[in-house]
């Protein structure tokens, strides 16, 4: 079974801090994703990576950056945390298999509170 591990289940940070969220997957998946999930808004894609050192902006990249130095690890960075970034953050991975839509495997999320 694919395992996607997010480094923290709960995190509390202060406004203006630089925040790192880490995600590791153990199935050699090419694709990795960062989402945030808010009530009534569903999952929204922040950033996506299809290979080491490659990244693409999702729907809401403002205020975030990402890093993928190794295939198994995808980090989300909040450059200067703000209260509107309080949310549940979910990491996912999937296989890159030609022109086909592969299931995504999710971690259990990090609930981030910015005070």
């Amino acid at each position: 079974d694919v395992k996607v591990t997010q480094s923290s289940r709960y995190l509390v940070k202060r406004t203006g801090e630089k925040v790192f969220l880490e995600c590791v997957q153990d199935m050699d998946h090419e694709n990795m994703f960062w989402y945030r999930q808010d009530p009534g808004l569903g999952l929204r894609l922040i950033y996506f990576s299809y290979d080491v050192k490659m990244k693409e902006k999702g729907d809401i990249p403002e205020g975030y950056s990402v890093s993928r130095e190794k295939k198994e690890r995808f980090s989300l960075i909040l450059e200067s945390a703000s209260t509107n970034q309080t949310s549940m953050y979910l990491c996912a991975s999937s296989l890159l298999e030609g022109n086909s839509n592969q299931p995504q495997h999710f971690g259990d999320g990090t609930r981030l509170s910015i005070l």
Binding site: V4, N31, F33, G40, L41, G42, L43, L45, F48, Y50, G58, L90, A92, S94, L96, N99, S100, N101, Q102, P103, Q104, H105, F106, G107, D108, G109
Partner: protein, 114 residues
């Protein structure tokens, strides 16, 4: 822009009945549609994938239909159990973004009473 709609009101049913959840989409013709289950405080878990040229897909007590004319997918759980209580999300491959990304609906909460 593409829009995915799932009923935001919770669906309450009795154990043993069939639960039917709806996913409607507009302004788009996806090639794939996926369904996920999400329990409180956990990440979504993949359940089923159906392609545009497939009308129906089954897995144990789960059945998904995909009507590209109506732009709708139905998700059925037969002989429902209290353990089926969760939020169910539908997801489509993102328009003009290739097949690697998904766009998710907001989900419908299912409550199965004993």
């Amino acid at each position: 822009s593409q829009k995915i709609e799932q009923n935001s009101e919770a669906l309450n049913i009795q154990e043993g009945k069939t639960a039917t959840l709806t996913c409607n989409y507009t302004n788009y013709s996806p090639a794939y549609l996926q369904w996920y289950r999400q329990d409180p405080g956990r990440g979504p878990v993949f359940l089923l994938l159906i392609r545009e040229n497939e009308k129906e897909k089954r897995k144990e007590r789960l059945k998904v239909t995909f009507d590209t004319t109506l732009k709708q997918s139905l998700f059925h759980i037969t002989a429902s159990q209290p353990a089926d209580s969760a939020t169910y999300l539908c997801a489509l491959d993102g328009m003009n973004t290739g097949f690697q990304k998904l766009v998710f609906g907001t989900g419908t909460r299912l409550l199965v009473s004993p």
